[in-house]
């Protein structure tokens, strides 16, 4: 079944743009990961977003999490077969909007907004109806302003 949708929004309408501070981006890699170690952690390991993939023969994990949650993940990573790198402080912008998962051009618009603001994202992720951008904390306000040229929020 095909549904034809015509989007004619300039700027693109969102449900909202959320800006979160005091986060960190932690990357870890390993060629023999044991994810069950992370799954069985009690209490569960707190995080905001994550991504992982097999690339270049290794499992690459990227986790954006509250800064205070970093030491616990660093501590558990070796048991999970992962070598964590030094965490980076980040701020996270989250955009959610109607049909964001089904319509082309959302990520391109966000990149255009960041480029206009002179900001390079450390992580850009699009999943389901959300687009998430991790940026240097010092660039967060500028990034939000740049996104404002391409995305609108409800009054």
């Amino acid at each position: 079944m095909e549904t034809v949708a015509v989007f004619n929004e300039h700027p693109v309408q969102t449900y909202g743009i959320l800006l979160r501070h005091h986060l960190a981006l932690l990357e870890a890699r390993g060629d023999d990961p044991r994810p069950q170690v992370l799954a069985q952690a009690r209490p569960p390991l707190e995080m905001v977003i994550c991504a992982a993939a097999w690339q270049e023969g290794e499992w690459w994990l990227k986790v954006c999490l509250p800064a205070e949650a970093v030491p616990r993940l660093q501590e558990l990573a070796p048991a999970a077969g992962l070598r964590p790198e030094a965490p980076r402080p980040v701020s996270l912008l989250v955009l959610q909007g109607p049909h964001f998962g089904d319509r082309p051009g959302i990520a391109a618009a966000a990149l255009a907004g960041l480029e206009q603001a002179g900001v390079e994202p450390l992580l850009l992720q699009g999943a389901v109806h959300s687009l998430m951008l991790a940026v240097e904390p010092a660039q967060a306000a500028r990034a939000r302003e740049g996104l404002g040229a391409y995305f609108s929020v409800p009054e």
Binding site: E2, P35, P44, A53, E56, R103, A108, E115, P121, G126
Partner: protein, 164 residues
């Protein structure tokens, strides 16, 4: 085993995964912009420092060719792949790690995964989709009466330029 109880699991098939271990931001950005210009939707996207793009399988070759044109010569294309969306995420690593562990425990490949604020998305080879669906639903305790359900609606999105 992991204390996870899924409320929903959705599946979308006939997709492809384009991956690069390293993707400079300018090249990745150029590729994303060109894909948008051609109307290719990205069902999942993760950039930095690597690149993972999930798009419809029928246009995967076109996407790889475009990647080469912007300088991303070492892209890996996996096709077909199936995309699963699992709910709820609950702000912890438990669901992503449990899903990866379930697949690994069955000898199934989790090619890539990523989260939104509320859900987990994971990509498996198309030939393993049925086994992955069964394993995830059973071992992550998919609630009775919920999915699995295939996402059969394909939105053909058209973005008009201002003034047209």
């Amino acid at each position: 085993m992991f204390g996870v109880r899924l409320a929903g699991l959705k599946e979308r098939d006939f997709l492809a995964l384009l991956q690069a271990g390293r993707a400079p931001a300018d090249q990745a950005g150029a590729l994303v912009r060109e894909l948008a210009r051609r109307g290719l939707n990205l069902y999942f996207l993760s950039l930095g420092p690597g690149l993972c793009l999930c798009l419809e399988a029928g246009r995967a070759a076109e996407a790889r060719e475009l990647a080469g044109q912007v300088g991303l010569d070492d892209c890996r294309l996996v096709s077909p792949v199936s995309l699963f969306t699992l709910y709820p995420l609950e702000h912890s690593l438990k669901l992503p790690a449990a899903a990866a562990a379930v697949l690994a425990g069955r000898g199934l490949d989790c090619l890539a995964l990523g989260t939104s604020p509320a859900a987990l998305v994971l990509l498996v080879p198309g030939r393993q989709a049925e086994a992955a669906r069964r394993a995830l639903a059973r071992e992550l305790a998919l609630a009775p009466g919920a999915s699995p359900a295939r996402e059969s609606v394909r939105v053909v999105a058209v973005t008009e330029k201002e003034g047209e």
